[in-house]
């Protein structure tokens, strides 16, 4: 098998889905690399869950193809599902089963080995997600967080090569979210994680690659670092007081300064957003230029770090980046 096929776990080409003439997903081209944590973002109704259903063979594409591990998601769906663990957005299980019975039921689709080994594996998996002490309780009494942890346990019971998680932390409180993110981080050593979410803070914490979907179309796909670096130009945030006007004239005159936006943050403090075209020159001389006049005091200085939320909002409101 060529290297590319080994490195790429999910590949979609022109993947589209419409329901009664309404386009839910349009021409999605996506590649997910092995051992990445791939965040799949978008507002409600963007097409995230539709994409996941197409990958899992729960729905049929109206156009395009999806391959997982080089296997067609429709034609080879049984083989594909042997390699995948899945957690639904609102996971539902058989309420009469206990947590242990639920993961045992799931495991039996994958394993036919000796009972003792299977039971040991079940116990380890339930311990991993913190449900060891609740393993024999009927799940009808489980909280949302416990259900979600059970969902992760059943999804990764067969140590799948790919975990697909649909909004894994959406219904959880901050503690539950932290737990889920920790489990995801622990699992990344041996699996690829493809997960949809609208909680941007979580994506920024754990993802290495991000795709943003809006109204069924892919509008951005990039490593998280690239996405957070902003529009391509480096921006510095500077807070200063004193003789701001003379400093402003000096900085605005620098040849690599592209723009300078000024806002007052306090009676004696002004904040600048300085966008530069030459990062190296700015690192070496921007602060010195500001401080050339002793009547200007520098309160803070640093490169601006974009938050994913800003990038997300600007992309959703218009424009695309790949």
């Amino acid at each position: 098998m060529p290297n590319d096929a080994n490195d790429v776990v999910i590949r979609t080409a022109g993947l589209s889905k419409s329901y009664r003439g309404v386009e839910a997903l349009t021409g999605l081209d996506l590649e997910v690399k092995r051992n990445s944590i791939f965040g799949f973002l978008g507002p409600n109704g963007a097409g995230k869950t539709t994409t996941i259903k197409l990958l899992l063979g729960l729905a049929r594409p109206t156009a395009g193809t999806a391959t997982l591990f080089g296997l067609d998601s429709e034609r080879d769906t049984l083989e594909v599902r042997r390699k995948i663990g899945y957690l639904a957005q609102d996971p539902r299980y058989y309420d009469y089963m206990t947590a242990r019975e639920t993961v045992r039921f799931t495991a039996r689709f994958f394993f036919s080995g000796p009972g003792a080994a299977l039971e040991r594996h079940l116990a380890e998996t339930l311990d991993l997600v913190g449900l060891g002490d609740k393993a024999d309780r009927p799940i009808r009494g489980f909280s949302g967080g416990e259900r979600q942890r059970l969902g992760i346990a059943q999804a990764q019971i067969a140590k799948p090569e790919l975990l697909i998680l649909d909004e894994p932390a959406a219904s959880l409180d901050p503690m539950g979210r932290r737990d889920v993110l920790e489990v995801m981080a622990r699992l990344r050593s041996h699996t690829t994680i493809f997960y949809s979410t609208h909680i941007l803070e979580d994506v920024q914490r754990v993802s290495d690659t991000v795709a943003i979907l809006n109204q069924g179309r892919l509008i951005a796909r990039a490593p998280i670092g690239d996405l957070l670096s902003g529009s391509g130009h480096t921006t510095y945030t500077v807070e200063l007081s004193g003789n701001v006007e003379s400093a402003r004239r000096r900085v605005a005159g620098l040849p690599w300064v592209l723009s300078l936006d000024e806002t007052a943050v306090a009676a004696d403090t002004t904040r600048w957003q300085v966008s530069v075209g030459d990062e190296q020159a700015a690192d070496q001389t921007l602060a010195r230029t500001i401080l050339a006049d002793e009547s200007t005091q520098l309160r803070s200085f640093g490169r601006r770090r974009y938050q994913l939320e800003e990038v997300f909002m600007s992309l959703i409101e218009g424009g695309s980046r790949q």
Binding site: F110, S112, A117
Partner: protein, 259 residues
């Protein structure tokens, strides 16, 4: 010790696991006990009451015949309603709750999903609503009328009634793959049975004969040594064919389902 991967078995991949799960939903919960109590009360209890009431007015032979007639016709009717009610949510419920979509993300097939339900419901329901009440009826008959029906006739009638119930289980399961709520599923299944009561007056005889409608009447006639309303092998064979066809439709329709 290491875990062995489950081998792929074509359409039946995952069938055994799904069948175990379905059986567990009966025998691993109190559901079986509720049904056992219900069917013993409805069928055996009913027979006990009418036998006690008529024991001074009827000869043992007449009492036995009446007992058999009531069991195979009235009992068959109640069990038919039970079969429809038990099966109506099997597919619809799992589809609306999301458990069907969850299960179908595992390495199993849609035919295995549908057929495991059919096998589990048929086996369990026939055992609880037919076999055990039938044993109860034999006990009542022996205690009150001091006689028993001819074993071969009784078993043949029981088999005919089982075929009849199996058809309605298959039909209800198939309707569950078509409709999204329980109302039309049970309504159409029971409507088909009602149509069978009207059809003999409206439809050509060959159509009536090729349907399962005459089976309860036939089962009762066999058990009571009465003349058969028609050669029973025709509706019996046709019903077996219908069961296969209806299950095929269920598997085909469920295979096209999108979640």
């Amino acid at each position: 010790m290491t875990l062995d991967p489950t081998p792929s078995r074509g359409w039946s991949t995952g069938f055994g696991n799904l069948l175990n799960k379905e059986l567990r939903s009966w025998w691993g919960t109190r559901r079986w006990l509720v049904h056992l109590g219900l069917w013993l009360a409805v069928e055996t209890g009913f027979i006990l009451l009418i036998s006690l009431e008529g024991r001074h007015d009827m000869t043992p032979a007449k009492g036995l015949a009446e007992t058999m007639q009531v069991f195979f016709q009235a009992g068959g009717f109640f069990a038919l309603i039970g079969a429809v009610l038990v099966t109506q949510g099997a597919i619809v419920g799992e589809r609306s709750s999301g458990t069907a979509a969850w299960v179908l993300t595992k390495p199993t097939t849609r035919p295995a999903f549908v057929l495991s339900k059919f096998v589990a419901i048929t086996a369990t329901f026939l055992f609880l609503s037919l076999v055990l009440p039938a044993i109860g009826v034999l006990v009542v008959t022996k205690l009150i009328w001091h006689t028993l029906p001819v074993a071969s006739h009784f078993l043949e009638a029981l088999g005919i009634l089982a075929l009849h119930q199996t058809f309605y289980i298959a039909l209800t399961l198939m309707l569950g793959t078509v409709f999204g709520s329980r109302g039309p599923v049970s309504g159409l299944a029971l409507g088909f049975w009602v149509a069978g009561n009207i059809a003999p007056n409206l439809l050509p005889k060959w159509i009536v004969l090729s349907m399962p409608w005459m089976l309860t009447q036939g089962a009762s006639a066999i058990a009571t040594w009465q003349p058969l309303p028609a050669p029973l092998w025709i509706p019996a064979t046709a019903t077996a064919g219908w069961i296969v066809l209806v299950l095929g439709l269920a598997v085909w329709r469920f295979g096209r389902e999108e979640f």
